[in-house]
């Protein structure tokens, strides 16, 4: 059934699937955003504990989504996996490092005899939330600004910049995209905490969290404007579908959005939802903003990935050798593998369903001070 689909359909399908996983990851970075807010919002041990136990029950989902994003790209677009991870070595290693230290920090922070003491583990969480997300954003930025690699006739990668990927952080657009994601994660983090914590008797803590939503949103807006401004005005990479030749075209991504009005719509609705979330939270004092901002973030993510990969656009362009650029058509797995993986992907709705069910079961009762301090309950 799936096997009779055209290769290009499967390639597009897998770009959409990878984009969904990547965008869901961006939503789930509310965990990372929350990690950077621990010191700022948690003025005493109870408040800190509430923050850490609130986001700490979701960190593995975020982590796993990132791992699946990597895995899905490996399976569906192995040339990207090989080119980017092997080529932009230092940017990926740096990102991974922040996730290594994150993985132990929730569990070890408060345990006695933990070698470093709680502050260091909190610092690990901060580094993961700030540097990790910043670098992920910068790496995604290179989908538009291009990278420094050449592929030989055997499709093996040679990186031409000794910084091995870290050079992406020298570009204003890439850095702005990274900072946009960092502040968006912080907005999401604060929104999640507002929704998940029972603030009874802690008005000051709640007010601080609410203010954080607004202040981080303002910062986010600044970087968003730089990113959008850059994206709409920059020349981009275009591939001729007939010959496969890649050329640079002025206003390429602006043109992409106009040629794919549905993507433009997704982008605008997504941004609108994030703004609406901040509005209902800050001005209407609601605590369900996370859902609007969450869905909004997913939509913005999808728009970003679609703009990067569709409409004859190489999603991983090479600045130094245009013809080495990766498109979803030349970087993908074989028809057989994409077919097999599509069958496997049929299970994804089941996975999403049990995640949603468990999420509901675990979050339907807000996390209270009482629960954190009870001797019975297990806590981070």
């Amino acid at each position: 059934m799936i096997g009779s689909l055209d290769q290009s359909i499967l390639q597009q399908l897998w770009w959409i699937l990878a984009s969904i996983v990547g965008s869901l990851f961006l939503f789930l970075t509310f965990v990372q955003g929350g990690q950077t807010l621990i010191w700022q919002l948690g003025k005493n041990e109870t408040e800190k504990s509430l923050i850490i136990n609130s986001i700490g029950r979701k960190w593995e989902l975020t982590f796993t989504t990132l791992v699946l994003f990597g895995g899905a790209l490996f399976a569906a677009f192995p040339k990207f996996y090989a080119t980017s991870f092997g080529g932009a070595y230092w940017v990926w290693i740096s990102i991974l490092f922040t996730f290594i230290v994150q993985a132990v920090s929730f569990e070890y922070r408060k345990k006695p005899d933990n070698l470093f003491g709680p502050t260091i583990y909190e610092a690990f969480l901060f580094i993961n939330g700030a540097i990790g997300i910043l670098l992920i954003g910068a790496a995604v930025g290179t989908f538009f600004t291009g990278s420094n690699f050449v592929l030989n006739e055997y499709n093996l990668v040679k990186w031409t910049n000794p910084l091995r990927g870290l050079e992406a952080a020298q570009n204003i657009f890439n850095i702005s995209l990274g900072l946009f994601l960092v502040f968006n994660a912080r907005v999401l983090g604060a929104l999640y905490l507002l929704n998940n914590i029972d603030f009874t008797g802690m008005d000051e803590f709640r007010r601080r969290t609410k203010n954080a939503v607004f202040h981080n949103f303002i910062a986010e807006l600044v970087f968003l404007l730089i990113v959008v401004g850059g994206l709409l005005t920059m020349s981009g990479f275009h591939v001729d579908p007939a010959t496969g030749q890649v050329i640079k075209v002025p206003f390429k991504y602006l043109k992409n959005l106009f040629s794919m009005p549905h993507v433009l719509l997704i982008l605008l609705v997504g941004l609108g939802l994030v703004i609406y979330a901040v509005y209902v939270t800050y001005l209407k004092d609601k605590d369900n903003g996370i859902w609007f901002a969450g869905i909004g973030t997913v939509l913005v993510g999808l728009a970003v990935f679609f703009t990067a990969g569709f409409n004859n656009t190489p999603f991983y362009p090479s600045k130094v050798d245009l013809q080495s650029s990766l498109t979803i058509y030349n970087a993908s797995s074989s028809h057989y593998t994409l077919t097999a993986m599509t069958y496997v992907a049929l299970i994804i709705p089941v996975v999403l369903a049990y995640i949603a069910y468990v999420w509901y079961q675990m979050d339907s009762k807000k996390l209270s001070q009482e629960e954190i301090e009870s001797a019975e309950a297990e806590n981070y």
Binding site: L68, F74, G86, F97, T337
Partner: protein, 512 residues
């Protein structure tokens, strides 16, 4: 195809992979087995409604959680290391190898990640039944993740279900089910997971012995030992059985590895197993030195393991390097010659295609197709390069087998003492239980050394040597990240052990 081979780069990349994999395998065996043990304990609690079993479950779960976190930390590196350090590999076999990794994420990691939170924080948030289900889901999820990564590893040992595509210069999948149900995948999975169960059982036994020795939590310790010794005994018997199966598949698909495991240089009928031996480290392929300084052999046993027939012929390292016409064995030497031709014809094909000379391209392709299965050998410099480090493989294999046999014996001792209710009296058992915990770890590590060092120089057996599989990067980068990982993982390990010891010292909550 490859501009120049930078051996120090390959060795740093290999060292880094070995480092991360060995660190990861310090924690994974405990995750694999402890998750099931926790599920057993909790099932007993739910069935009996006895709060003591609940406290017992929570105690082991706490230790499980501490171990789980660092397992995750070391695991993420492994997945991405294929890309960072082995970029050529990732492209050349990504069409096959990427799939199990993605499936691992979809079907396994999410089970673990989702239900882990319920298992730890859901005691008062979900029903008893749903909590128990969640604990089982974590156990199934972690073992499913082992399944898929071992499918991937099994495929590296015995590449099947694929073909080389000269246009993309990569291997492409032709049969998903051949990859998943390859004999290697099945034997790897069952051998590795059951060894994890055995290690975890010894962990429970060792900690319980500590409590027995201190005369604290005696009932809880005895109950834990009862469950762990049954689980461990079944697991260790399975380890032996699947190990025998693994040797059998090695004999048929990786004969060089099997020869190295037993230090068998010259093939023979009634091939012996060396029950005890000291390798002559100076021995080289083709020379006439004695392979052993000291040896004690059991004739026919290797033939039995390899072919289920004690009189059968098992090829030695020299036969596999230089060939043996009489026994119909093609040696690495001949394969290397054909491989060099394959490399040449492939380059010719690429060049002709680029120049648009289709006739020349098709001729080159025809010639390439005749020798294409030797392409991997074409990247070796000399036939002797096909020999893995014999001493390491030999010793690792023997340590694994000796400890493995000891494990069965000690599980029986603990089980008998449990049945006779003499655990409190038999204090001499306690240090043995603790020792076996550490030894079982060493056996697990040794097992991976046999599997991975024993297949050198290949990343993909017979198809892709490690020297070609690596990323094109200056060795200094990989060297630096090696030390970054070494320092980070070591510090985290120290933190983990300290936290673990403290929690063991605090011990489980007793019902008032």
């Amino acid at each position: 195809m490859i501009d120049q081979m930078d051996l120090s780069l390959v060795n740093w990349a290999r060292a880094q992979f070995a480092l991360t994999a060995m660190y990861h395998w310090l924690f994974v065996p405990l995750t694999l087995g402890m998750s099931f043990l926790c599920a057993f304990f909790e099932t007993i609690y739910v069935k009996t409604g006895n709060e003591e079993w609940k406290n017992l479950t929570k105690f082991w779960m706490k230790l499980f959680g501490i171990n789980f976190a660092i397992g995750v930390a070391t695991g993420i590196i492994l997945e991405f290391e294929f890309g960072t350090n082995w970029a050529n590999y990732s492209w050349m076999v990504g069409d096959i190898f990427g799939a199990p990794l993605a499936i691992e994420g979809i079907v396994a990691f999410f089970l673990e990640a989702t239900f882990f939170a319920v298992m730890f924080f859901g005691w008062n948030r979900v029903s008893k039944g749903f909590h128990l289900l969640s604990t089982w889901m974590v156990a199934i999820g972690s073992n499913l993740s082992a399944l898929w990564i071992l499918v991937a590893n099994g495929w590296m040992q015995f590449p099947t279900g694929m073909a080389f595509n000269p246009d993309t210069a990569r291997f492409e999948m032709k049969s998903f089910f051949d990859v998943v149900f390859s004999p290697y995948a099945i034997s790897k999975f069952s051998h590795a997971t059951t060894s994890g169960f055995a290690v975890s059982s010894f962990f429970v036994i060792a900690v319980s012995c500590y409590f027995l020795a201190k005369r604290r939590h005696v009932l809880m310790a005895k109950r834990s030992i009862a469950v762990a010794s049954v689980f461990g005994l079944i697991a260790s018997l399975m380890v032996a059985f699947t190990g025998d199966e693994a040797a059998y598949v090695d004999a048929h698909h990786q004969p060089m590895k099997l020869a190295a495991m037993e230090g068998l240089w010259d093939g023979t009928t009634k091939a012996p197993v060396v029950a005890f031996g000291i390798i002559n480290g100076m021995k080289q392929p083709g020379d006439f030195q004695d392979p052993f300084v000291v040896e004690f052999k059991v004739p026919g046993l290797l033939s039995l393991l390899a072919n289920r027939d004690p009189g059968s012929y098992v090829p030695g390292i020299n036969d596999l390097v230089y060939g043996n016409k009489k026994m119909g064995i093609t040696g690495a030497k001949e394969m290397l010659e054909k491989g060099k031709m394959a490399v040449k014809f492939l380059a010719e094909y690429k060049e002709a295609k680029k120049a648009g000379d289709m006739q020349r391209a098709s001729m080159a392709l025809q010639k390439f197709n005749q020798v294409k299965e030797y392409l991997g050998y074409g990247h070796l410099e000399k036939p002797e390069d096909a020999v893995p480090p014999v001493s390491i493989t030999f010793y690792a294999f023997h340590i694994m087998v000796i400890v493995g046999s000891l494990m069965i014996l000690v599980f029986i001792l603990f089980l008998v003492s449990t049945i006779k209710n003499t655990l409190e009296k038999n204090t001499w058992l306690y240090p043995i239980g603790v020792a076996l915990f550490f030894l079982s770890f060493i056996a697990g590590q040794a097992g991976w050394v046999v599997a991975e060092v024993g297949r050198q120089p290949w990343a993909i057996q017979g198809l892709l040597p490690v020297a070609v599989a690596r990323t094109d990067i200056a060795a200094s980068n990989v060297k630096l990240t090696f030390f970054m990982f070494l320092v980070t993982f070591t510090l985290l390990l120290i933190a983990e052990v300290k936290i673990m010891l403290k929690q063991i010292q605090i011990g489980p909550k007793e019902v008032a």
